[in-house]
Symmetry: C2
Subunit: 439 residues, 2 copies
């Protein structure tokens, strides 16, 4: 018999209670012994919930779980950083294994928590922290363990993807799409973490550590959100055969690592372009396995509970066989002492989408392309539309590969031209097929 204590009886906690109750027989069958949910701690034990739980298993005090010597596994689903961190450290201290879905906590304090857990030989399992029910952590830690991970692209935030899908399919402006997402329960009242890319960065930090077997390094990730997106750019992107997604991107050139979160143009026939609404997906390329896509529901009560309970089962299987920490949390025993060099954004080389608002004067295109030429930025395709937008005519360009520092500097100079109305808009493109003739 393995005893579980749950801290946090909110949405995901409710799903976990439901799964442990409804699937009890199947889980016991798989494990070969019973998984018992012994106690649940929550500050609002009597709030109505769609599952029933004996009142005597509910407590308002996390200490009732932490101090119970019979509890083997503590499941932390309260969210937030301060108290969650304290309870996880207390669990580790008492030799209890931990299962958590708390990506913010891991991204900010994961190195310390994982080091404390390794020192005590207890597990911290966190499949539920990235992409809900999609077993991406398992895939990186075990399934692709024989690979050097070359690159990874992720749609890791369902809220942002829902908003982008609305903006792109309906032509809605950001604010309206956000309102709809809030009405449908896909976005919170304060959507900052989701729409500004912060939550995506938390998850990318975790995936990068697993992909490369290295310390968590949230600070090195460059982050840009979607709140300033104009539906016009989604439309123009479409005319070039692209769609726009908020992507987490990491790539290993063998020396340095790219680590960035930003709105990105991808070809319409890319598997990630078909990830609509609140769905999540990760496209990861291993040097041996080649490209792999994992797709599914990245959030919600039951998908996240599925990941939490699969972690509980995995830890329990290790306990049954006397093999806790069978696999180190980040895939390599020395990951926490391994740091990878991050490529600064200025050194990034990629393709760009530019949009300039041209005033109705002669010679605009030649002046703009003159500046681009000066910075070694060559144009792969250009659209100049007759239709006026706010008194100007948009010029939209797709470039060949250029250096980010050059692209930024060129934008600044172009914004100074009297023939354009600043600011220039620019997005990065991920398109391995982009090699059409140079203009």
């Amino acid at each position: 018999m393995i005893n579980i204590g749950l801290i946090g009886f909110g949405t995901v906690g409710t799903g976990v209670v439901r799964l442990l109750t409804e699937q009890r027989e199947m889980l016991s069958r798989r494990l070969g012994t019973d998984l018992v949910l012994k106690k649940v701690a929550d500050l609002e034990p009597d709030r109505p919930r769609p599952v029933t739980l004996d009142r005597d298993r509910l407590t308002t005090r996390a200490a009732d779980i932490l101090d119970d010597p019979e509890i083997d596994i503590v499941v932390e689903l309260m969210g937030g950083c301060d108290a969650a961190r304290e309870y996880i450290l207390a669990s580790i201290e008492r030799g209890k294994h931990v299962v958590t879905a708390n990506k913010a906590l891991l991204a900010h304090h994961g190195n310390d928590l994982l080091a404390a857990a390794a020192a005590k030989q207890v597990e911290i399992a966190f499949e539920a922290s990235v992409c809900g029910g999609i077993p991406i952590i398992l895939a990186l830690r075990q399934g692709l363990a024989a690979n050097r991970i070359e690159e990874l692209f992720g749609i890791l935030n369902g809220t942002a993807n829902y908003i982008l899908t609305q903006m792109s399919q309906q032509g809605d402006p950001f604010a309206q799409a956000l309102r709809q997402a809030q009405e449908k329960g896909f976005a919170e009242a304060d959507p900052t973490l989701d729409v500004e890319g912060v939550d995506t960065a938390h998850k990318l930090a975790i995936l990068m550590s697993l992909a490369y077997g290295a310390r968590l390094d949230l600070e090195s990730i460059a982050v840009e959100g979607i709140s300033k997106l104009d539906p016009l750019d989604l439309q123009f992107a479409g005319e070039f055969g692209y769609c726009l997604k908020l992507l987490a991107i990491t790539r290993d050139d063998g020396y340095r690592i790219e680590a960035r979160v930003h709105p990105t143009l991808i070809p319409r026939d890319h598997m990630l372009a078909n990830v609509h609404g609140a769905m999540n997906a990760v496209h990861v390329t291993g040097n041996a396995a080649g490209p792999i896509l994992l797709y599914g529901q990245g959030a919600g009560m039951m998908p996240t509970a599925s990941a939490v309970v699969s972690d509980i089962l995995d830890v329990a299987r290790n306990l049954r066989r006397g093999a806790p920490c069978r696999i180190p949390a980040l895939g390599c025993p020395d990951a926490l002492s391994t740091a990878r060099l991050i490529k600064p954004m200025n050194d990034l080389v990629t393709n760009y989408y530019f949009r300039f608002a041209a005033l109705d004067r002669p010679g605009v295109l030649s002046q703009v392309s003159g500046i681009l030429g000066k910075y070694d930025i060559s144009i792969a395709a250009v659209i100049q539309k007759g239709r006026e937008v706010a008194g100007t005519v948009p010029i939209v360009m797709i470039t060949h590969e250029a250096r980010e520092a050059d692209a930024q500097q060129a934008m600044r100079e172009i914004d100074q031209l009297p023939v354009v109305s600043p600011p220039a808009v620019f997005y990065r493109i991920e398109d391995p097929q982009l090699h059409s003739a140079q203009i």
Copy 2:
């Protein structure tokens, strides 16, 4: 140090040697000890291969591996059933763990092999047997272990999918698409196993066992291939918004299991509809996780080697921790003594695509729909084209849900009508959204 013996130095074997050599440092780092490829047995040791291996590690005798007490893990990559089975049983007998990619062997003899391995407490790992580098076995055995699997659809054979992609995108007839697949190395000289659905059925047998925690049951799977497909039907399917894929399908209604492999119409916006060429994908729905898609290269030297080496690493991790067979091969300790009831094809209830060749006489549609009505088959959509095909005019229909036995009997009666030219063509549809108004 963990010693490995490899039997079979063909394409995948070469990939495994390459991966174990090139990634040796990374693998040792992950495992915490060295993985050593001690011996490789092959009947043609001196055949030129794109990897180098010391001549003294090569042997023509499998016994040199089986009888070596220092070898911990035997990797069987010779294929075929008889000798492979014998070597795997000999490995088990000697307490050696086994990694194999041999789906035909597992589908036909897996129950006996797994029982022998369980009795000896040695592992048989087989991630490479289904979908190459895609970690689908890991996902079913661990990632989705908290779920009841409700349904699973798979594109499990790259050759068949390549041929279908050619037929659908170029309008090529089957024979021509097959020839192209052979020229490109995607199809073998004798393509029977691939195009008749047999290989897909082998893989479905393995996935079903994992999904339901039950014995392998290849015989219960209904199998139909793609060799009789007319490109005309791919075209008509497209006009209804469908594309046609060779799918492995299993579904659990809580009482019985559907188990079938056949050409299937799926909506064009389904994730599986975007799986082109030789790629593989599995779409699996867990009751908690919801729908999950795993997509990638299902065959080839390095993708398959990726799966083999990830299995080697997993077994080695268990050995290091003294926890062999940490998870039973089919996910549940009692899987080999568990049989699930299979739903006979006659009891299947699904939507159908029918095509009839109507002679140029009045009243065809009324006679055909009269027979369909008699068998409770109602029509959701119909296309009657003016264009003649071989002296007849095609009538194409999409039906509401109907019983397979009724559909088959209706086809037989319609084939007797003097106004149609037999045989009627029919395919099954998987489309949860199919509820347009009845005609």
